[in-house]
């Protein structure tokens, strides 16, 4: 293996003597004493060991990547560092002293701050109130507003302290979280998947902010599964797989492919794209405008698009820009003007979900538990949820449970859903398996048009690959697919054409092949009015 010198696989790493010699990137004048040292941290939950004797060090001023698939134990590990979860065994030291935060207050007092992936924000409250809630001894609200303005300007993250958080975009909300951390002058900043809500341009600005912080001596623990990001930002990477530390590496000198193999444990074949010839227009949306049903949602504004049979149209965009509303408008949960949505020429805008399913327009929402599936119901009952009509699972209103169970079995078999059987409750399945079930349920109903939102969100790599392959196969068999996703790599991998949602509007739609990252970013709304850090 070529990069072996930079990339070592081991199980108990931090105890090794020679460890620190390879640590600091060359030519730096940084201190090499560890700021935070983790040794043998273990945390088990019923049925799963989230962290198994994880050890590593974080040095002052270092950007340290924590890399791993969904479910590898990254979140549990940082929750232990932030005092939200207590380890079963193992120890941490901060500045050389034992560090056992009983709760996040203690962590913050010790100089540890965290930006959450699913923000810890309060939508109905103002920016200043949100910031105050994340501080130990906040100044008076008026003084705090001044401080917020100062810090936000210093770091190029403009923010109005008086605005209500619910009205902010995802990128702005992240700024609230970051500024809340920065106001406490942390020594260690934990960032959990921060770029999943940003456009490529915004990511670049965030990185500049983080580099500036790192230059000031703040250590950053950066959690991600996006390899290219880590290669461009991080000094050091620790890789977790199934709760274990499976190696460390210098990201700048390791290829993305090697890191991916360490992360996943094996390599996956990229999905195969069978050549396909787009047919007639299956789904046509013209001038679709609907208000959002939720208080802080995004209204759809004048959407125009068409998807041909045998084609995958990918729609990107940062979370909260109308994705949920678009899915609801297409599934039939959110009625619109009749003419706004046409399915093979039939105006279906006023039709409910059942009527649309009858015509072959199927959908798979983002939220698996509670939207696509009922958590406490069995897989049989969940198969009936959308399959009742197209699979003939009822007779004069009465449910044919035998047929429903057979349908559930078929989904389980065809899509390799790992479960004891169709009588298991949906919530007992892992994210990946449930997602395979949800997608499989729609695919097996032979849709003419399938709309999916975030089909591989929070799913392990193997399941994600299987789901993408299923979508490609479905398109090859002549179905039209509208794939809404926040994962740009995924969209580039499977879609024929690409468009982006931005504040409820749809960008121009272009062939996916000849797009570069810069162009995609601009379609997604560019930097959303952010400025570059004043370094």
């Amino acid at each position: 293996m070529k990069a072996a010198s930079h990339c070592r696989r081991h199980r108990h790493c931090a105890t090794e003597e020679g460890e620190s010699t390879c640590r600091p990137p060359s030519g730096d004048n940084r201190v090499t004493t560890p700021l935070l040292s983790i040794s043998g941290l273990t945390k088990a939950y019923p049925g799963v060991v989230a962290n198994d004797a994880v050890s590593f060090d974080i040095i002052e001023g270092e950007v340290h990547a924590l890399l791993g698939e969904n479910g590898a134990g990254k979140s549990t590990l940082v929750k232990m560092i932030y005092g939200l979860v207590k380890p079963d065994s193992g120890a941490m030291t901060l500045h050389g002293a034992p560090y056992t935060p009983p709760d996040p207050h203690a962590a913050r007092k010790a100089g540890v701050a965290m930006v959450f992936q699913h923000f810890s924000l309060f939508e109905a409250m103002s920016v200043a109130e949100n910031v105050a809630l994340g501080m130990e001894e906040p100044p008076r609200l008026r003084d705090l507003a001044t401080r917020i303005r100062e810090v936000s300007e210093t770091y190029g993250l403009p923010l109005d302290p008086g605005r209500i958080v619910g009205d902010l975009s995802a990128g702005e909300r992240q700024r609230v979280e970051i500024i809340r951390c920065l106001l406490q002058e942390p020594r260690l900043l934990i960032m959990d998947e921060p770029t999943s809500v940003l456009t490529p341009q915004e990511v670049e600005i965030l990185f500049q902010t983080l580099r500036k912080l790192s230059a000031e001596g703040v250590a950053i623990l950066y959690i991600s599964h996006k390899l290219e990001e880590i290669r461009s930002l991080c000094d050091q990477a620790t890789i977790l797989r199934q709760g274990r530390n499976v190696g460390t590496c210098l990201p700048r000198e390791t290829s993305a492919r090697e890191m991916a193999e360490m992360m996943v444990g094996s390599s996956f074949a990229a999905p195969e794209r069978a050549p396909r010839a787009p047919g007639e227009v299956a789904l046509e949306i013209t001038g679709l405008s609907v208000a959002s049903p939720s208080a802080f949602g995004t209204a759809l504004k004048d959407i125009h698009l068409s998807v041909q049979a045998g084609e995958i149209l990918g729609l990107g965009g940062v979370a909260g820009n109308g994705q949920d509303e678009l899915l609801a408008a297409l599934s039939g949960e959110l009625p619109s003007d009749a003419e706004a949505i046409r399915l093979h020429g039939t105006a279906v805008g006023r039709f409910g979900p059942t009527a649309r399913r009858g015509l072959g327009l199927l959908a798979a929402p983002e939220e698996r538990l509670g939207h696509a599936a009922a958590p406490d119901m069995s897989l049989t009952e969940n198969a009936f949820l959308t399959g009742a009509q197209r699979e003939n699972l009822t007779a004069r209103g009465f449910i044919r449970w035998g047929a429903a169970r057979a349908f559930a079995r078929a989904i389980i078999e065809r899509f390799d859903v790992r479960t004891p059987g169709p009588d298991v409750a949906a919530r007992a399945l892992s994210g990946g398996n449930l997602q395979k079930f949800v997608i499989g349920r729609e695919v097996l109903q032979r849709p003419r048009v399938l709309v999916v939102n975030q089909p591989t969100w929070g799913v392990d790599a193997a399941a994600a690959a299987a789901i993408r392959q299923a979508l490609l196969d479905l398109a090859a068999n002549g179905a039209a697919i509208l794939c809404i996703s926040q994962d740009l790599d995924e969209l580039m991998e499977i879609s024929d054409r690409f468009g982006a949602l931005n504040e409820g509007r749809l960008s121009e739609i272009r062939p996916a092949q000849d797009l570069n990252v810069e162009e995609i970013g601009l379609m997604m709304g560019g930097a959303h009015g952010m400025e570059v850090a004043h370094v």
Binding site: P102, G370, A388
Partner: protein, 360 residues
Amino acid sequence: MLKLEKRPQPSRLWTWVTPLLAVVITMLAGGALFAALGKDPVEAIATIFWQPLFGEFAFYYRPQLLIKGAPLILIAIGLSLGFRAGIWNIGAEGQYIVGALTGAGVGLAFYPTESVLIFPLMVLAGALGGWGWAMIPAVLKLRFGTNEILVSLMLVYVAEQLLAAMALGPMKNPEGMGFPGSRNLRQYESAHNAELITGTGMHWGVVAAFIAVIFAYVLLTRHSLGYHIRLTGQAPRAARFAGVRPARLVLVCLGTAGALAGLAGMFEVSGPAGQVSIDFNVGYGFTAIIVAFLGRLHPLGILLAGLLMALTYIGGEIAQSNMGLPAAAIQLFQGMLLFFLLAVDVLTNYRIRLARREVA
């Protein structure tokens, strides 16, 4: 330290064990309560649970079980559909009263004509009365988004006043020598909900209750409407995704509950109670809430829970006359039952674990 740990799926065993456990705990706590009141706890519990079934006068009390149980079961079946769908009709007491008023009203209007058509008409009127009263919170919820809990409950107080107004006004017995209350329907053959088989307590209300149980069972386990009711309660968003129209469900659930409560009221006023009087209602509409939960919102469970609750009513009365146990103690006893049920319910969805000493 004890810790709760969510089960991967609800435990089937505990689903059925918890109600029994709750009954046992309630007996223990009730015993303690009775002891605190200076009564022999063992004797009190035995009086409540044993005497009505196997005591000396069981021949008299056993029919009472059906008479008291039927309205409870009838109302609880209706409520359970709504509770399953997350539609909280807690105004069954009001619907019960109004059903009794409309049912009795039709009967009294025909007095003294005798016809076999009168009783069926009264049944229809009772169901319609309860249905109409329940439609008020339903329509207000759909039209304006008001909270059905508060509206249906407010309507109980309105119905109680209406009952008083009727008993003292339009429905007052003209030959009643000034006493409040209507004519006695038991003395009006065409309107009398008589005992069908002598000595069993079986009347048309009991028949209706059994039919309701069977109907609800089939609905919930076999029919797609029942599935939609369950789905809406467990995952409202998934229900909309599946194509359920929430408005229709609100109308169906509140309407059914209202109609069944109205029926219960009608059968009661034309049978066991006999007349419209100021204190005609005895809280069946509220006790039925306990019955519905104790029966796990399951039709068969409700059947058993309704009979059990009827037992506490009858046994409570015996304990009241034989041991001087206050009526309020029985009321409290029933309240405790729901309390303990909700408390032990946690075992269905969670496992209790002894947390290990935490090493940080």
